[in-house]
Subunit: 349 residues, 2 copies
């Protein structure tokens, strides 16, 4: 039979060519399924590919063709189930399309974000999906990735000079409408003193959610001046800690619209510690619909954002842009919907 596959070294297209007495060019045509090659030749080559256990070197091909077959996915917090679902959705679509996902997790650090972006850029991705770390600066990101590469900003706006990056596409959640829905729901339940609890004013999503909250309060003629707004780090721990802020004023609120589910769950714990029963003595809503929201005690009324769908959508948006960079940049606002559970009770008698 023919020669044996090379040892140690990877099998290349030249090995195959040599193995069945055709030129490299012909083997290349076979690999790409070109109709030019004679079917006998094709069969012989394919047999040899199998025999030697050839694996395609896409990096070499990409180099020659000046193309890329990867998309970078840079997330501020992979460990957060919301982003994990999102990543799964992205990878699902990219995988189906023959792209590979280059993952980067920044752990909410802007410095690491720049480092990660720089490192990923060296691998020449066709595009980037970026959920920026809190406080990310437009200019610095731009100088890390250059102005050539398609970038889809997900979930958060960056700060700084937005004109510099107005060629980026954007995919955001409808934060404002979501918070408005939640607030309107609590108002409909009969609450009049409703707080907005948690999140950082530094983050665009927090500002948007606050805006939705304020909008609903004003429409209902509830004095915005008296509204309590408490800032906290958007995790469970700080949400527990800041609970007392809610009850400092003379007339304490009877309900709270929370920045997200983690904060809401933390607040539940804090309420318990004050002897209040969430869902009975105090109403609250979350945002995200993380898995825990359905099983907390009481189950949490929240806004479903279907992160996996958003991931699929993000992948599709960036692929579109990669395939055709010419259309003007697009901002997409994904709808969210209110999921009423038991935590948003009417005010306690």
């Amino acid at each position: 039979m023919g020669n044996t596959p090379p040892v140690g070294r990877k099998v290349t297209l030249s090995d195959i060519a040599a193995g069945c007495d055709v030129s490299r060019a012909t083997v290349s045509l076979v690999l790409r399924g070109s109709p030019l090659v004679n079917k006998h030749t094709r069969a012989r080559v394919e047999e040899e590919l199998r025999r030697q256990g050839y694996v395609y070197n896409r990096a070499a091909a990409n180099l020659r063709r000046r193309t890329s077959s990867s998309i970078a996915l840079v997330l501020n917090d992979l460990a957060n189930p919301f982003f994990a679902e999102f990543a799964a959705g992205v990878d699902e679509i990219l995988g189906d399309t023959g792209f590979v996902t280059l993952l980067g997790s920044t752990g909410e650090s802007t410095e690491r974000e720049l480092a990660v972006l720089g490192s990923l850029m060296e691998h020449g991705p066709a595009g980037i999906i970026l959920s920026p770390a809190e406080g990310s600066d437009a200019q610095r990101i731009l100088s890390a990735v250059g102005s050539q590469i398609p970038l889809l900003l997900f979930n958060r706006e960056v700060s700084g000079d937005l004109a510099a990056c107005d060629h980026w596409d954007r995919l955001f959640l409808d934060n404002q409408r979501g918070a408005r829905l939640a607030t309107e729901h609590l108002i409909a339940q009969g609450h009049t003193r409703i707080a907005f609890y948690g999140g950082h004013l530094g983050s665009s999503s927090c500002r948007q959610r606050r805006a939705g909250y304020t909008e609903a309060m004003q429409s209902a003629g509830l004095s915005a001046d008296a509204n309590v707004m408490v800032e906290c780090v958007p995790n469970r721990l700080d949400a527990v800690a800041q609970c007392e802020q809610l009850f400092k004023g003379k007339s304490a609120p009877t309900a709270a619209v929370c920045y997200n589910d983690a904060v809401a769950l933390g607040l539940m714990l804090g309420l318990h510690q004050r002897g209040l029963q969430p869902g009975t003595d105090f109403a609250l809503t979350g945002f995200d619909d993380i898995a825990e929201a359905a099983v907390s005690a009481p189950p949490l009324t929240t806004l479903a954002v279907t992160p996996r769908d958003r991931g699929r959508q993000a992948a599709e948006l960036i692929l579109e842009r990669v395939r055709d960079p010419s259309p003007p940049p697009r901002q997409t606002i994904a709808p969210v919907h209110l999921l009423v559970r038991d935590s948003s009770c009417p005010p306690h008698a």
Copy 2:
């Protein structure tokens, strides 16, 4: 001033060389921080790199050097917080080491697993971290990745001919010991009729956890024959549905060691539906210590597996292997520790 950077095309090392009148070789040396170059030259070149906005093409370098700077991370379920944390840990270490993570999510489908592995292989990763889908076959995986590439099997054993893949490294949790600890804890609480609830016998981790459970029961002299073992899909939904299986026999158990946290949380719901209060009328334990375990009602006694640390460890193991393939394959068993919370009460009077 010098020439302007090229338009449309990416800046290459040759552009830099031309831009400051040195050879490509010199620029290459500068890029790699070689001590050979004169510091004047270095300064000039570095200035030019900045001026033209050069980005290193690692794919080209890897091609020439026959090296790789990526590691493939293939997970059976990215959306699961356990694996999301794990992935974050992996990416953290890889990022620090200059490697990039090629992500692949298989959604627990063996077919997709093979497709994903094939696609990732074309990008020539230096190694693979694989948490196999349930029912993955050793031979088929081997033929997808070849026998040259370092592979670290995480979390689960594969089925089929293990001799074929005895060169793989392995990182598993100490499932057996974990389940034994949980069972012993319930026994110490005074329970004698304890069930093992959930999981599939098809999965190696389930078999190991059952073994730990059985071991503890036997050591305590509790009749293993009477032991109830219920199989179910390891998610919340099916765990709710199979709850009644526990109470079919004449003497129902008063406690259950659950396959994992998701199952335990599902079982809690199921118990509620039967009018039983988990943590009061019925004791149960989980496995994994997912975020929800701490905030469920009651908080769940479970086994902490610190998935982020496991991710870091996995990354370190595969990097070691990539750097030196010669040492014999290694199997690592990561410790787990019991976290006692309120769900594992003594038997109800």
